[in-house]
């Protein structure tokens, strides 16, 4: 079963159609997804800024991380659940949306960045916990995280726009390939 046919199956399920067509449900989930940005990305950014030595310089990094982590985890769970619901409501179009694909790749990169940080310079935390400006590798991790989350917000916002949707792409073009369009999509041109 290809990912595309999985998405097509998902789109045919009862609750997917119900959420897609709901007057209140979909906007509500979308609003929760956007406003939880404040909790999850906002807190992550403050943590990244601490890593860069740009805020809370007198507070040990471990204290900032300990205090923000419960909120970040809670916010992350809400983001993932609401995001998954948004995908579930519109599976095929999301799967074939270039911005959605870019966003997923960026999310993986953000995860890798956090993992590298955790396995690397974070292990020597005791030696730099109280530094107003942490070591270079920690600053790089903070800077990379900041850039990635900004890019994720931009990509996420752009999913809503249909500039590169498959029914506007010419078969064989780079965007047609990158968005994973199939010949079936071209029929949409005639049946918008």
């Amino acid at each position: 079963m290809s990912l595309l046919s999985f998405c097509e199956w998902l789109a045919s399920t009862h609750w997917s159609v119900a959420l897609h067509e709901s007057h209140l449900g979909y906007p509500l989930v979308e609003s929760i997804h956007v406003l939880t940005l404040c909790v999850f990305v906002g807190m992550s950014m403050m943590l990244d800024l601490r890593l860069l030595g740009l805020t809370l310089r007198d507070v040990p990094f471990s204290e900032v991380a300990d205090r923000l982590m419960p909120w970040m985890i809670g916010g992350f769970v809400v983001m993932v659940v609401s995001g998954a619901l948004l995908f579930y409501a519109i599976p095929v179009r999301s799967y074939q949306n270039i911005f959605f694909r870019v966003k997923m790749i960026l999310l993986v990169l953000a995860g890798v960045n956090a993992w590298v940080f955790q396995k690397g310079v974070y292990r020597r935390l005791a030696s730099w916990d109280r530094d107003a400006s942490p070591p270079r590798r920690a600053r790089i991790a903070g800077g990379a995280s900041l850039v990635l989350w900004v890019a994720i917000i931009v990509a996420g916002r752009m999913i809503a726009y249909n500039w590169f949707d498959c029914n506007t792409q010419i078969e064989g073009s780079a965007m047609y390939w990158a968005a994973g369009c199939t010949p079936g999509n071209l029929d949409d041109l005639n049946n918008p």
Binding site: L37, C38, G42, D58, R67, W71, V150, I153, V154
Partner: protein, 156 residues
């Protein structure tokens, strides 16, 4: 009031954004980045005031550290919010969500730069914890109103 909104919509900036393919989405994305950052700064400050974060740090210390990011992201949000508004001013005029947002925003800014700031920077021994908690709760409610109102402009 309506003629003023019509004038806004007819400004060069408003027209330029409406005519452009990518300007509105791009400005909107920057507006969202500001939202995330102001959320982080406002939450950290209020968590400290509520007594559920950074208890070992003096309130004034946390407030001084969060303040520039709060003000900076607020400036970024207003700077991007104005052009977004200019591009669809008449729609905003008829949108209850827009008026709710602007009312909450005016109150939130007023409250933040007067009561909130003063309470956060004040010598801690001079205030009861309950006063600080109430101030934090009001601040969170006002900013949440701005956020919800803002999101709802897009649906109306």
């Amino acid at each position: 009031m309506l003629p003023f909104f019509q004038w806004c919509e007819n400004t060069a900036v408003g027209k330029g954004i409406r005519d452009s393919f990518w300007l509105f989405p791009t400005i909107e994305a920057v507006h969202l980045i500001g939202l995330a950052l102001i959320g982080g700064a406002v939450l950290i400050l209020n968590l400290r005031l509520l007594g559920i974060g950074f208890e070992r740090q003096p309130i004034a210390r946390v407030a001084r550290d969060a303040w520039p990011w709060l003000v900076g992201s607020l400036v970024a949000m207003i700077a991007t919010g104005i052009p977004l508004f200019l591009s669809e001013a008449v729609k905003c005029y008829y949108s209850p969500a827009f008026w709710i947002k602007m009312t909450s925003l005016a109150m939130a800014i007023l409250f933040t730069f007067t009561v909130h700031r003063r309470v956060a920077m004040l010598d801690e021994s001079r205030l009861q914890p309950i006063t600080r908690r109430v101030v934090a709760a009001i601040s969170l409610t006002l900013w949440l109103g701005v956020g919800i109102g803002g999101r709802w402009i897009g649906f109306s």
